[in-house]
């Protein structure tokens, strides 16, 4: 049983505090993804869990025991590094078996475990090569193999796919997911790619500047972002965030256009409140070109500036209140720049954030 608990964990480098007392509970066998922009403290947090960085304050527990002062080797975890960190002077076989050999395991058992890991990851044919003789994707697999042979209580991944090309990245992403289903273990996975986070995670932890902004399942953070940061970070293309004022049950944009306040949020806003109106491109669709018709809707006539056909859908660029906004057209037809279209706004999917705090009004 390896649940991992972070209790008010702080990291300081000298006087500089880079992680500000974060709390997090990771359940046994859960796949948790830490995601956030560069420099937000993801790697530092992961390395504190691994024992590669000291913890300045707070406590980390693995399987119930406080591990603050345990060296990495006593935490029964394994880690996959961004640059793989394979041992260049050892063959793939030796790389895989290294941890077990250090633990003075029986050579027969090491051989079995290595064979098992090699089979799981399709490395059988490569066992006698050195890392220099492998492709990027193969090295990545060896790094994962090295992590699984020891049957650790938890896997830690630090941006393991960021050195692969786009196609291989998608392929390895699927493999990691399959691997987790096969070797059920607790996983903490760091990435700055929100698509990776969405597709892999049981739960996503969104970090910014050393703080946790929101924790939730992919659908929770997608459907109910707690603040504008999460709203803009999760989802691609990103959510449109437009400044507006609430007046008389309607949201008024600076250019005079207005939309009704979504009925589920009606009681949450004050008259005169400055807000940010959030709407995903999927919920701003030309009439007759949406995914699901019906529901709470409003209409807006907008001028299309640019269209980007993607095949099954087309991204439409338009302006609302002087700001660029994106919509989507499903079952697309050619659209020429300058064309004015009537758009459906799916109000039941719209979000309102307080302009001053950036917090979702639904959260209070």
């Amino acid at each position: 049983m390896a649940e991992i608990t972070l209790d008010k964990v702080v990291k300081r480098y000298g006087k500089l505090e880079v992680v500000h007392g974060i709390d997090l509970k990771i359940a046994h066998n859960e796949f948790v993804v830490l995601v956030g922009p560069s420099g937000c403290g993801k790697s530092t947090t992961l390395r504190m869990i691994a024992g590669l960085e000291d913890i300045s304050d707070g406590a980390i527990r693995i399987g119930g025991d406080v591990v603050n002062d345990l060296p990495p080797r006593k935490r029964n975890i394994s880690m996959v590094f961004q640059n793989y960190a394979l041992y260049p002077h050892m063959s793939v076989r030796e790389n895989l078996g290294f941890g077990l050999k250090i633990a003075k395991q029986d050579p027969k058992m090491i051989e079995e475990r290595v064979a098992e890991a090699a089979e799981t990851l399709g490395l059988d044919a490569l066992l006698d090569r050195t890392p220099a003789e492998l492709s990027g994707g193969q090295r990545q697999r060896v790094a994962m193999g090295r992590a699984i042979v020891r049957h650790p209580e938890a896997f830690l991944f630090d941006e393991p796919l960021s050195n692969l090309d786009a196609k291989l990245r998608v392929q390895m992403r699927t493999e990691i997911k399959k691997l987790h289903q096969k070797v059920k273990t607790t996983v903490v996975y760091v990435t700055h790619d929100q698509v990776e986070a969405m597709t892999l995670a049981d739960r996503i932890v969104i970090m910014r500047d050393g703080n946790i902004e929101q924790v939730g399942t992919p659908m929770e953070v997608f459907d109910h972002p707690l603040n504008t940061f999460v709203a803009s970070f999760i989802g691609s293309p990103p959510m449109n965030l437009l400044p507006a004022t609430v007046r008389g049950g309607a949201v008024h944009f600076t250019d005079g256009k207005s939309l009704p306040v979504p009925s589920r949020l009606a009681g949450k806003v004050r008259d005169g409140q400055e807000v940010t109106f959030g709407l995903r491109p999927d919920d701003l669709t030309p009439q007759g070109h949406g995914i699901a018709e019906g529901g709470e809707r409003a209409q807006m006539e907008l001028e299309v500036i640019l269209s980007e056909p993607l095949g099954t859908e087309t991204i439409l660029y338009t302006t609302i209140a002087g700001q660029e906004a994106q919509g989507k057209m499903y079952g697309p037809r050619p659209v020429s720049p300058g064309e004015r279209l009537v758009f459906d706004v799916a109000l039941e999917k719209a979000h309102l954030f307080d302009a001053a705090t950036g917090r979702s009004v639904a959260a209070d």
Binding site: A50, G51, Y87, E133, R150
Partner: protein, 285 residues
């Protein structure tokens, strides 16, 4: 337009230049080796005799005392002194160089840059400039004409360079290697010996060769600090061939050959570790 002729001419010129440069570099060495096998009289012949007319091992025999007309030079003692002093000082310099190089490459500490710069600057002082102060201190400490006395001097001479060289090699090894090993179950110490040391081996070997050759060939300080067969090294022993009015060039050359050979052997032995570009690939490609 470059005609084929011009191209060929350019190439030939390049080869001639290379040849001339090689001759300038190699002839003195070759002359020493040739001279080792000829009688002293021939050395001073005018016009010079290039290929010894009657090559023989007389000079070597003389050195080792097998010839009637000359007192033997205590080559075995000198040789043993040189070997002990060079090997010991190299081993110590490598040990310090490894710890120091690792510390500079991996740890952050106060005055790090200052210390590093200081080490490098110490190399700008020519050894001979220190010979008088060292002589005075050593004579007070009773280290004159002892092997430890010379060993300490050579360690001091070699440490800055070994630290600098080894630091560079450790720097090339991503610190994630050692971290991966620690996560894999190693102590920091094990991670060093099993992962980082093998990867830095070529650097350590290079540093070792340099340190050994420096100690093996050093003359200026050794000539001041040694007196007798207790500590005299081979280069100092070369001076045994100079009398007040004559110099036994042939004997000196034979001795020089004796000095060169172990250095050559060692260099060849260690050379296979010297493949400078480490075959990495442990990290992203």
């Amino acid at each position: 337009m470059r005609t084929p002729f011009r191209k060929t001419a350019g190439k030939v010129a390049l080869w001639i230049l290379t040849f001339v440069l090689m001759v300038i570099m190699c002839v003195p060495g070759l002359w020493v080796v040739l001279t080792a096998f000829r009688p002293n009289a021939e050395v001073l012949a005018k016009p010079p005799v290039w290929i010894p007319e009657d090559p023989g091992l007389t000079n070597f025999a003389k050195i080792f005392g097998f010839a009637a007309d000359q007192v033997a030079i205590p080559v075995p003692s000198y040789f043993a002194n040189s070997l002990i002093i060079a090997l010991t000082s190299t081993a110590i310099a490598l040990l310090i160089g490894m710890s120091g190089g690792y510390a500079f490459a991996r740890y952050r500490f106060r005055f790090k840059n200052g210390i590093f710069l200081g080490l490098m600057l110490s190399r700008t002082v020519p050894g001979i400039a220190l010979s008088l102060p060292v002589f005075i201190i050593w004579s007070k400490l009773g280290l004159i004409d002892t092997k430890p006395g010379l060993i300490i001097v050579y360690v001091a001479l070699n440490v800055p360079f070994t630290i600098w060289l080894i630091d560079g090699f450790f720097r090339q090894i991503p610190k994630e290697m050692s971290e991966a090993a620690q996560v894999d179950g190693c102590t920091r110490w094990q991670a060093f010996w099993k992962i980082e040391f093998p990867l830095a081996k070529s650097g350590i070997a290079s540093a070792g060769i340099f340190a050994f050759l420096t100690s093996w060939n050093e003359y200026a300080l050794a000539s001041n600090l040694t007196r007798s067969t207790d500590s005299k090294t081979l280069p100092v022993g070369l001076m045994d061939f100079t009398a007040q009015f004559t110099i036994d060039w042939a004997g000196m050359s034979a001795m020089a050959v004796i000095i060169i050979i172990p250095a050559l052997i060692l260099t060849f032995l260690v050379q296979k570790h010297l493949i400078a570009g480490l075959t990495f690939g442990g990290v992203k490609g």
